[in-house]
């Protein structure tokens, strides 16, 4: 709810604050705050109701939002917490998940170093009514480019080596941080390996492209294992703009074609934000590397999970409902991958490779265009259950959530 000098977050009727509510309600309130007549160039005060129930996946988003607003106002925000010593489960959750350490000004090296995003009254933290510990490894993690462990990555030569270096580093980190959590989740070894790969790939993408801090939270419940990764960098469109064209890829080709195909009326910013998601998937699909696209396919097709990617003001939810389209795309992807592998191992000539890739890239392009167009058509028919969500207020950066059900 919008109040005089900030935002008051509470749960109505005991409903939890989910990422959906974060995008649709909280961000709208925030937009209203900046548009209101009371706005005096001061950052909003974020105050949390003591009965608020918060979905763990929201924590990275909250930290990202704070970090972005801090960089906008050039000063930290106030966070108001209430502690009446009886129902203080929220503060307990925020402290045990390390959220308050990460966003505060913690200097104790035993705990995550604070990023000084929020200022809050430290006296309210403590006096917890119950000593029940939550699972010890449900913690918000923050990674940033100037962590001393990865400072060397820019010296690694080619872009691919830089990424490999980061992926390897984050593989070790994720196995250290999330290993016990993931191993409690499942006994399926291929799933465990896959979750490690997913986390390291997504964190690497965040660090590599956004050039900001990346917030990561992983959480498991009895039914699912989910993780949320978010940054407040330049977003997908600006990243895709910088990709060079070659004989089988044209810079922003998908974005430009979608502008002609999709009939839905949107502002140019929303178009860019939305179409760039498909552009990114297409680009990733054409590459010789295993990347984002393979990850999406694998989460949805192999593990029956859900992949939600939110870029600026558009969210695309990839789930088992797109099973057929995705299976087709996977067939194409495998052909493209083989084509690269053959060329790389010097089994085909460059000429053969390029002519094969030209055909395959055309097929891939039309498949992606088809998928995107269908999704936008379905959006116009039925907004509530659409795989695309167009939100009225944008949150800078890329925010990814994955959910994998336990079998």
């Amino acid at each position: 709810v919008l109040i005089d000098n900030g935002i008051y977050i509470s749960s109505q009727n005991g409903q939890r604050l989910t990422t959906f509510k974060f995008y649709t309600e909280l961000l709208c309130d925030l937009g209203d705050y900046y548009r209101s007549s009371d706005y005096n160039r001061e950052p909003p005060i974020i105050s949390l109701d003591r009965n608020l129930i918060i979905d763990p996946l929201v924590l990275p988003l909250l930290a990202t939002m704070g970090a972005y607003l801090k960089s906008f106002h050039k000063k930290p925000l106030f966070l108001e917490l209430e502690n009446d010593l009886s129902s203080n489960g929220l503060i307990r959750f925020l402290i045990q998940s390390d959220f308050l350490y990460v966003v505060g000004d913690n200097k104790n090296p035993q705990l995550p170093l604070g990023k000084e995003i929020f200022i809050f009254d430290k006296r309210v933290v403590g006096g917890f009514s119950s000593n029940k510990e939550m699972q010890a490894d449900h913690k918000l993690r923050v990674f940033s480019e100037d962590d001393s462990g990865i400072m060397a990555y820019k010296k690694q030569g080619s872009a691919e080596s830089q990424r490999d270096y980061l992926i390897e580093y984050f593989y070790y980190l994720t196995t250290t941080h999330f290993g016990p959590l993931i191993e409690r989740t499942t006994n399926d070894e291929s799933l465990i390996d896959h979750l490690f790969d997913t986390l390291s790939e997504l964190t690497t993408n965040g660090i590599y492209h956004s050039e900001t801090d990346v917030f990561v939270m992983m959480f498991n419940t009895a039914k699912r294992c989910s993780c949320s990764i978010s940054d407040y960098g330049k977003g997908l469109y600006k990243s895709m703009e910088t990709k060079a064209s070659n004989s089988y890829y044209e810079t922003l080709g998908i974005v430009n074609e979608l502008k002609n195909i999709v009939s839905l009326k949107m502002s140019i910013d929303v178009q860019h934000a939305g179409f760039a998601i498909f552009e990114t998937l297409y680009y990733s699909m054409l590459k010789s590397r295993n990347g984002l696209f393979d990850l999406v396919l694998s989460i949805v097709l192999d593990f029956n999970g859900t992949f939600r990617i939110h870029n600026e003001s558009v969210q695309v939810v990839v789930s088992a409902r797109m099973h057929n389209e995705l299976s087709e795309l996977r067939k194409l992807r495998l052909k493209i991958y083989d084509c690269h592998a053959l060329f790389n191992m010097e089994k085909t000539t460059e000429k053969e490779f390029l002519s094969d890739m030209l055909i395959l890239s055309r097929q891939a392009k039309s498949a992606i265009l088809q998928l995107a167009n269908n999704l936008f058509i379905r959006y116009t028919l039925d907004i509530q259950y659409s795989a695309i969500r167009i939100l009225s207020v944008k949150l800078k950066g890329v925010h990814i959530e994955t959910e994998i059900p336990k079998i």
């Binding site: 992926i167 590397r289 991958y337």
Partner: protein, 338 residues
């Protein structure tokens, strides 16, 4: 650095999991004070740094060989490592991956070499080449034993029976096995020997599968080195008590070092009669801890198998049938010229 490499004629053998354990335990931590990365021998994903180490080793003087990389215990591989395999393939006569899972082959993008037989998701011998020819080579175990014996023979110090009196047991040992010398003369290989000991210890479920992890207990300098490497590989704590020494030594302040109900595994370099082990066992049990057993690099089996204790593990055993250095334990009854 590659720890498990063994060259034999035109072959080069490498154990991928040992290399990955070395990377994960000692190279992966890039020095960020906030994060402590150490995987030990539990890591099962082969990463780029390991592959680059292997490549570097091959470039430094092992080119044009048939390279056999054993991938058992490797479950997964970092994405996009086809480049590294391609680079290794370029500098070798033939690259063979043994015991490699189909998933890894696919992830590496080398499933285009389709002539290899893959059954039940595992390929026993994957040739990274178009033509799969029969290549015969000795087993890695044989070569390891041979290399270990050569190292052992090169580090035996002989002395006159008169001067061979060992203060800690009332015996004469004319051939002293210099484990420190083995370590110094082949550092890489010695790390691999410790890796094998670590794997052996972990396989003893009665030790490793317990709510409280064992604490490695070492009683001399060589033992402390071995235990510190083991501690990185196994991620277990270690306790060092130097100068356990002679049988008749009196101990005044030992009690406070041993945790009540702690589980202790004694690590030593070389076990002959096991006198020091007994002392350690007594100290541990007297102070309220549990003595689990003993792990060593070389062990002399002074008893026939059915009389031996069962709580021991060792990389190499010297016994009646297997005594390449002609090791002898003498008493004055055997020596006439004293």
């Amino acid at each position: 650095m590659v720890i498990s490499a063994i060259k034999y004629n035109s072959f080069l053998f490498i154990d991928a999991h040992a290399e990955q354990s070395y990377t994960g335990s000692f190279l992966a931590d890039k020095g960020d004070f906030n994060t402590n990365v150490s995987q030990g021998i539990y890591g099962q994903e082969l990463t780029k740094e390991t592959l680059l180490n292997i490549l570097e080793y091959i470039l430094a003087g092992s080119q044009e060989l048939t390279v056999i990389i054993d991938c058992s215990s490797i479950r997964d591989i970092q994405s996009n490592q086809q480049e590294q395999i391609k680079a290794i393939k370029k500098y070798v006569k033939l690259l063979i991956l043994t015991n490699v899972s189909e998933a890894i082959v696919v992830k590496l993008g080398i499933d285009i070499y389709a002539n290899n037989v893959i059954s039940d998701g595992v390929c026993l011998e994957f040739h990274v080449a178009d033509n799969v020819e029969d290549v015969s080579y000795p087993s890695y175990e044989e070569l390891f034993t041979k290399k270990f014996e050569d190292l052992l023979k090169a580090n035996v110090l002989e002395s006159e029976p008169k001067k061979a009196f060992r203060k800690n047991s009332p015996i004469y040992i004319t051939k002293f096995i210099d484990v420190k010398g083995m370590l110094v003369s082949d550092r890489e290989f010695f790390l691999y020997v410790i890796y094998r000991l670590a794997v052996g210890i972990l396989d003893r479920e009665i030790w490793s599968k317990h709510l409280y992890q064992p604490i490695l207990f070492c009683q001399n300098l060589n033992g402390a080195f071995i235990a510190s490497v083991l501690s990185s590989f196994l991620q277990w704590d270690l306790l060092t008590m130097d100068h356990i020494g002679p049988v008749n030594k009196m101990y005044s302040n030992i009690g406070n070092k041993i945790k009540n109900d702690g589980r202790y595994l004694v690590i030593s370099d070389m076990v002959c009669l096991g006198t020091e082990i007994r002392i350690c066992q007594n100290i541990i049990n007297y102070s309220g801890g549990h003595y689990l057993g003993n792990a060593s690099i070389v062990r002399v089996d002074t008893l026939v198998p059915e009389h031996q204790e069962k709580d021991i593990i060792s990389v190499y055993h010297i016994n009646h049938d297997n005594n390449p250095v002609n090791y002898k334990i003498l008493t004055a009854l055997d020596i006439t010229s004293i």
